[in-house]
C-alpha cells in the first residue's frame, strides 16, 4: 500500500546542508505495523513528515526517491490532490499531544470535522447528530471512560493521555488506509502508554489500516510492530521482522541499542552506552556508524555499506560481506 523507495531528503539552511534521509526504502501493507526506530536526529520524524507531506520546503528538499501511496507518488502530487489523500487516505498522530488539537474547539467538533470530510468524499449527507453519536462511539473505542463528557470539553480541560486517545479517535473517524504515528506515546507516562498501545493494536486488527510507527523506544517497537527498520544517520541500517531484529540483532548499532536498555530483573552493573554522539559531518562516503562503532575497521571507511540480506533481514554492515553502494 505504501512503498517508499530511495527517499533522500536534505535540509538546507544558512548555507549548510544536512542529509536527513539517505536512500530510505520501506513498504507497508494493509493491517501491518511497521516501526521506525532511531535516536534523536536519525531522521525518523523527517520520514514521518515526508510520508504525510508535511515537510516544510524550504528548508527540506526531497532530492531523490518516491513515496508511492496506492500506486501514486505523494511527493509529486499537486496540493489539491494531496488534500484528497489526506484524512481518508493518510492520517497522522503527532508526538506532542498538547499542541495537536485546536485550543478553541471542543473535542467533539474536531472529531466531527474529520467525519464531515469523510462523508463529503463518499457523497453521504453529513448529519450533525449522527456524527456526534459516532464521535462518542469512537471515544469509547479508545477507552475514554466518560466519553459523552469528554466530547464536550476543550483540549486544555483534558489530560495528555486523553488527548492522544482523542487523536486516535480522530484517526478512527477518518478511517485512513495509512496511519502515521510519530512517537504518539513518548510524552505519556508508562501506564498510559501501555493502555494506548493496546488500543492501538486492537484498532489496527479491526480496521486493517497500515501503520508507520515512529519511536525511539525499542521496547514499544517490540510490543507493537510486525516489522521494523532501524534508522541511523538518515539511513536504514537494519530492517526486517521485529522478532529477528530484537532477539538477534546483526548490526553493531542495533546491538548497541539493545545493550543500552536496562534489565528489569537483574542488576547488570553500569549500562553499556554507545560511545560518542551522532555528528553528521564527513559521513557521505563512509559507513555512518563507523565513528562510534566498537567494531570499526579500515574497510568501514571505504564506502557506504550496501544493504545485505542476512538471516531474513537486511543489514548495512561490511561484517556481513564487503558490499558498498556504487
Amino acid at each position: 500500500m505504501l512503498r517508499v523507495e530511495g527517499l533522500t531528503v536534505d535540509y538546507r539552511a544558512g548555507g549548510g546542508t544536512v542529509h536527513a534521509l539517505r536512500d530510505v526504502s520501506l513498504s507497508i501493507n494493509e493491517g501491518e505495523i511497521v516501526g521506525i526506530v532511531g535516536e534523536s536526529g536519525s531522521g525518523k520524524s523527517t520520514l514521518a513528515l515526508a510520508v504525510s507531506r508535511l515537510l516544510r520546503s524550504p528548508p527540506a528538499i526531497q532530492r531523490e526517491g518516491s513515496i508511492a501511496f496506492r500506486g501514486s507518488d505523494i511527493s509529486q502530487m499537486k496540493p489539491s490532490q494531496i488534500d484528497r489523500v489526506r484524512g481518508t487516505g493518510i492520517f497522522m498522530v503527532f508526538q506532542d499531544p498538547f499542541l495537536s488539537l485546536n485550543p478553541l474547539m471542543k473535542v467533539k467538533d474536531q472529531i466531527a470535522e474529520v467525519i464531515a470530510v469523510r462523508m463529503k468524499r463518499s457523497s453521504t449527507p453529513f448529519d450533525r447528530s449522527s456524527a456526534e453519536g459516532e464521535v462518542v462511539a469512537h471515544l469509547k473505542t479508545v477507552r475514554i471512560g466518560d466519553a459523552e463528557d469528554i466530547a464536550e470539553r476543550y483540549p486544555h480541560q483534558i489530560s495528555g493521555g486523553q488527548i492522544q486517545r482523542v487523536m486516535l479517535a480522530m484517526a478512527l473517524a477518518a478511517r485512513p488506509q495509512l496511519l502515521v504515528a510519530d512517537e504518539p506515546t513518548t510524552a505519556l507516562d508508562v501506564t498510559t502508554q501501555a493502555q494506548i498501545l493496546a488500543v492501538f493494536k486492537e484498532i489496527v486488527e479491526k480496521t486493517k489500516m497500515g501503520v508507520l510507527y515512529v519511536t525511539h523506544d525499542l521496547a514499544v517497537a517490540g510490543v507493537i510492530c510486525d516489522r521494523m527498520a532501524v534508522l541511523y544517520g538518515g539511513m536504514v541500517q537494519e530492517a526486517g521482522p521485529t522478532d529477528k531484529i530484537l532477539f538477534d540483532p546483526k548490526h553493531p548499532y542495533t546491538e548497541g541499542l539493545m545493550n543500552s536498555i536496562p534489565s528489569k530483573t537483574k542488576n547488570e552493573g553500569p549500562l553499556t552506552a554507545i560511545k560518542g554522539s551522532f555528528n553528521p559531518e564527513g559521513l557521505e562516503k563512509i559507513c555512518s556508524f563507523a565513528p562510534r562503532c566498537p567494531m570499526a575497521r579500515e574497510e568501514c571507511r571505504r564506502g557506504v555499506p550496501a544493504q545485505t540480506p542476512v538471516d531474513g533481514r537486511t543489514v548495512r554492515c561490511i561484517n556481513y560481506g564487503e558490499n558498498y553502494e556504487s
Partner: protein
C-alpha cells in the same frame, strides 16, 4: 474562560474597570438613544429622539446663549443657547455607529487580505501585502477628505472613507497572526484531516487570531472616533444642524477662550471615550494573553 470570567478579571483592576465602565456607558447609551432616533425618524416622529434628554437639542433659545457650566447646564450652552451636554448625548450614537462599522469593516477586509497572505505565502502574500502597502502609504486623512469632497458630505461616505484607510493595519495584523498560527501543530492536524485551505483559514485561523484582534480593535474603537471627529472638525462630517462632537469642538473655537466650554466640553468627551477604549483594550490584552 468565558465572557464573564474575562469581565471579572477586568473589573479586578482600576484602570481596565474604568475603561470598561466608560465604554459600556458610551455604547449602552448610544444603543438606546440611537434606537429612539431611528424609530423616531422612521415614524416621522422626530421628537422621540430626545424624549430621554433634558431639552430639544435643535431649538435655539437666544436668551440662554453662551452660559457657563452650571447645574442646569452641565457643560454650558452654545452660541444659540442650546445645552451642550444634551447635544453631546444626542450625537453619541453617530460616533458609536461610525466606530463600530469602521473597525468591523477594517477587520472584515483586513482578514480577507491578510490571512491568505500569511497562510498561503508566496505570490499571494506579495500581491496582497504590496496592495496593502499602497493604501498604507497614502495619508489617511487626505484620502478621507478627498473621498468626501468628491462624493459629498454624507455619513455613508465618511464611513466608507474611514474603512478604506482603516483596513491595512488589520491586514498586517492578520497576516502576522496567520504566520504564527500556521506553524502550530493543530493546523497540521487539520490539514491531515483533509480539510481544504479555505476551511482551515475560516475555521481555525480566524478564531485563533481573535484574542489578538479583540484587544487591538477595542483600542482602535477610540482611534476611529478620534479620526472621525477630526473629519468633522475639518467640516467633513454630517451637515449642521445635527450635532457632532468634532464639529462642535470646531465651532466652539470661534468663541475660545472667553467661552471656553463651548469647544472644550465636546473635546473633553471625545478624550474620555478614547481613553476609556484604550484602557479597556489594554486590560483585555493583559487578560487574554495571560489566561487560557
Amino acid at each position: 474562560m468565558g465572557v464573564f470570567g474575562v469581565i471579572r478579571q477586568l473589573a479586578s483592576r482600576p484602570a481596565p474597570l474604568l475603561g470598561l465602565l466608560i465604554v459600556t456607558a458610551f455604547y449602552g447609551w448610544s444603543l438606546v438613544e440611537g434606537l429612539l432616533q431611528l424609530v423616531g425618524s422612521l415614524t416621522h416622529n422626530t421628537p422621540l429622539g430626545w424624549v430621554l434628554l433634558q431639552s430639544n437639542p435643535f431649538t435655539p433659545s437666544t436668551s440662554n446663549s453662551l452660559l457657563p457650566p452650571s447645574f442646569s447646564h452641565l457643560m454650558g450652552t452654545d452660541d444659540l443657547g442650546r445645552d451642550i451636554w444634551t447635544r453631546v448625548l444626542y450625537a453619541a450614537p453617530t460616533d458609536a455607529l461610525v466606530s463600530a462599522v469602521v473597525v468591523g469593516g477594517g477587520i472584515l477586509v483586513g482578514s480577507l487580505i491578510g490571512i491568505p497572505a500569511g497562510y498561503i505565502g508566496g505570490a499571494v502574500e506579495e500581491v496582497n501585502m504590496r496592495f496593502t502597502d499602497l493604501f498604507l502609504a497614502f495619508p489617511a486623512l487626505i484620502l478621507a477628505v478627498a473621498i468626501e469632497a468628491t462624493f459629498g458630505r454624507q455619513l455613508v461616505f465618511a464611513i466608507l472613507a474611514l474603512i478604506i484607510v482603516w483596513w491595512p493595519s488589520y491586514a498586517r495584523l492578520f497576516r502576522a497572526e496567520a504566520l504564527r498560527i500556521k506553524n502550530l501543530r493543530f493546523i497540521d492536524a487539520a490539514l491531515l484531516s483533509g480539510l481544504p485551505d479555505r476551511s482551515i483559514m475560516a475555521k481555525h485561523m480566524i478564531p485563533s487570531s481573535l484574542n489578538t484582534m479583540v484587544s487591538y480593535a477595542t483600542i482602535d474603537l477610540g482611534n476611529s472616533i478620534l479620526v472621525y471627529s477630526i473629519l468633522c472638525f475639518l467640516g467633513l462630517g454630517i451637515p449642521a444642524p445635527a450635532p457632532e462632537w468634532g464639529s462642535m469642538t470646531s465651532l466652539g473655537l470661534y468663541y475660545f477662550p472667553q467661552w471656553w466650554w463651548y469647544s472644550l466640553m465636546p473635546g473633553f468627551v471625545i478624550t474620555v471615550v478614547v481613553i476609556g477604549a484604550a484602557l479597556l483594550g489594554d486590560g483585555l490584552r493583559d487578560v487574554l494573553s495571560g489566561g487560557a
